[in-house]
């Protein structure tokens, strides 16, 4: 779709384009420097893993190129970087004028319902998986 020239470059896409690599570099630097990691407050309070528990282990594994270990630690360790990478390319396209801005609130109602349900199903499935990992066998 040919983007609206007036709309191109007016959103936060340019900021995300810079911010996302900086965040990834910062997290990578923290992990590579071997700095201490704070515990999960949710697990500390309830004894149960939160949706993102295991992502630090997964990120370390991913940095070492061990995709299977990362996936096993928490599937979000793969899904989230993949989603962020896709989002980064979307931002690049918007800033470059290749395609138009997309707003979550501007999606058609049916698409919104399907996408929302899909995200909840994925979150639910991952959390159940993490809970099963946490249960002592």
């Amino acid at each position: 779709m040919k983007p609206d020239a007036a709309a191109a470059g007016q959103g936060p896409e340019l900021v995300w384009l810079v911010l996302l690599p900086a965040a990834v570099a910062g997290i990578a630097a923290w992990l590579l420097l071997g700095l201490p990691l704070p515990g999960c407050p949710f697990r500390g309070t309830t004894g149960l893993p939160c949706l993102t528990c295991g992502m630090t282990t997964g990120a370390r594994a991913l940095l070492a190129g061990e995709v299977a270990t990362a996936l096993q630690s928490n599937p979000l360790a793969i899904l989230l970087p993949a989603a962020l990478a896709a989002f980064w390319f979307y931002c690049l396209g918007v800033v470059a004028g290749w395609w138009a801005q997309v707003s979550l609130v501007a999606l058609p109602p049916r698409t919104t319902r399907i996408c929302r349900a899909a995200v909840w199903v994925v979150f639910g499935a991952i959390w159940i998986y993490l809970l099963t990992l946490a249960v002592p066998t």
């Binding site: 900021v15 910062g26 630097a29 923290w30 420097l33 939160c50 707003s103 979550l104 609130v105 979150f123």
Partner: protein
């Protein structure tokens, strides 16, 4: 209709509106105000008996109240009176003022606008966020957030430093860090705080917006979420100036103002916003920790690289 909708200022229209307001005639009877009326309405009221010649009248520019029968405007021929301007809209079409006041900083001045915005967000969050433009750019709210959060967090750091210096146990936790290095670290952290605020503003608003969307509360774009969170955080950050309990007061008030602001700006139910905020905190604590790691990692990684480069050059 665009005049009321786009918040644009039509100075010609505003001047005519002010002129009209100033020319209204105030009328009292038996020391009780009857209201303010335009001249044609007063003329008609006198003819129908609505107003009495003995009623007292005053308008802008007059030194004292006079009986209506002696009002100079009424004594002048009717055709000399200013004709009614059909272009002047009724009061309900007066464009609402943009809030918080930071949106009008070019007129009010930066300091006055900041102080007024803090007052508005802290004491009138519902009305303030209700009148906040949903879309109007990222720069203004971000600047407000950085400036005030820097002041508030700077105060919190000073209190923390004083506490560390006067508390022997806290000093022991620094594990032999020299006093000079302690102050250098505090100064470096203070200088780099704006970087942290930029990160947290964009990423925090991003996470919140996704969860608002997931619970069906996001009815406005990401920009609206960003603007609310920046104004709420910036204004409440100033509460950290309160010694001892300022941090706790700030945390609670920030949450309160954010929830109210998001509900008003997205025109949605408060419970949905509460659910979104709670879910984002409960399910994504690692994301919040990751945010801190990202900023600190950038700083420390950059520092480590710089030290290594310096050592290498000295060899």
């Amino acid at each position: 209709m665009t005049r009321a909708a786009d918040f644009g200022i039509d100075w010609d229209w505003a001047a005519r509106y002010v002129w009209r307001t100033m020319s209204l005639i105030h009328i009292t009877r038996d020391r009780q105000p009857l209201g303010q009326f335009p001249l044609p309405e007063v003329r008609a009221g006198l003819a129908t008996g609505r107003f009495l010649a003995s009623d007292l009248a005053w308008r802008e520019g007059m030194g004292e109240w006079v009986p209506l029968s002696e009002l100079p405007d009424l004594l002048a021929p009717a055709q000399d009176a200013a004709p009614a301007d059909p272009a002047i809209p009724p009061a309900e079409l007066i464009p609402p003022q943009k809030e918080p006041a930071w949106e009008r900083r070019e007129d009010l001045g930066v300091v006055s606008a900041a102080i007024e915005s803090v007052r508005q967000v802290l004491t009138q969050p519902t009305a303030t966020f209700g009148r906040m433009p949903r879309e109007g750019g990222f720069g203004g709210p971000l600047t407000f957030n950085i400036l005030l959060a820097w002041i508030g967090s700077g105060a919190a750091m000073v209190y923390q430093a004083i506490w560390t210096l006067v508390n022997p146990d806290a000093m022991q936790e620094l594990e032999g860090l020299s006093m000079g290095m302690f102050w250098v670290l505090m100064l470096v952290a203070f200088i780099l705080l704006p970087l942290f605020f930029v990160f947290t503003a964009f990423v925090g608003a991003g996470i919140t917006h996704v969860f608002l969307w997931l619970v069906g509360a996001a009815r406005r774009p990401y920009e609206t979420t960003f603007r609310v969170l920046c104004y709420a955080h910036g204004a409440t950050s100033i509460l950290q100036l309160i010694p001892i309990c300022g941090g706790a007061v700030y945390a609670v008030w920030n949450l309160f103002a954010s929830v109210i602001g998001l509900a008003r700006a997205h025109e949605t139910e408060v419970w949905r916003v509460v659910a979104a905020v709670l879910l984002s905190v409960l399910l994504c604590c690692a994301a919040i920790v990751g945010l801190g790691m990202a900023v600190a990692g950038l700083i420390l990684g950059g520092g480590a690289a710089a030290i290594e480069a310096i050592e290498h050059s000295l060899e």
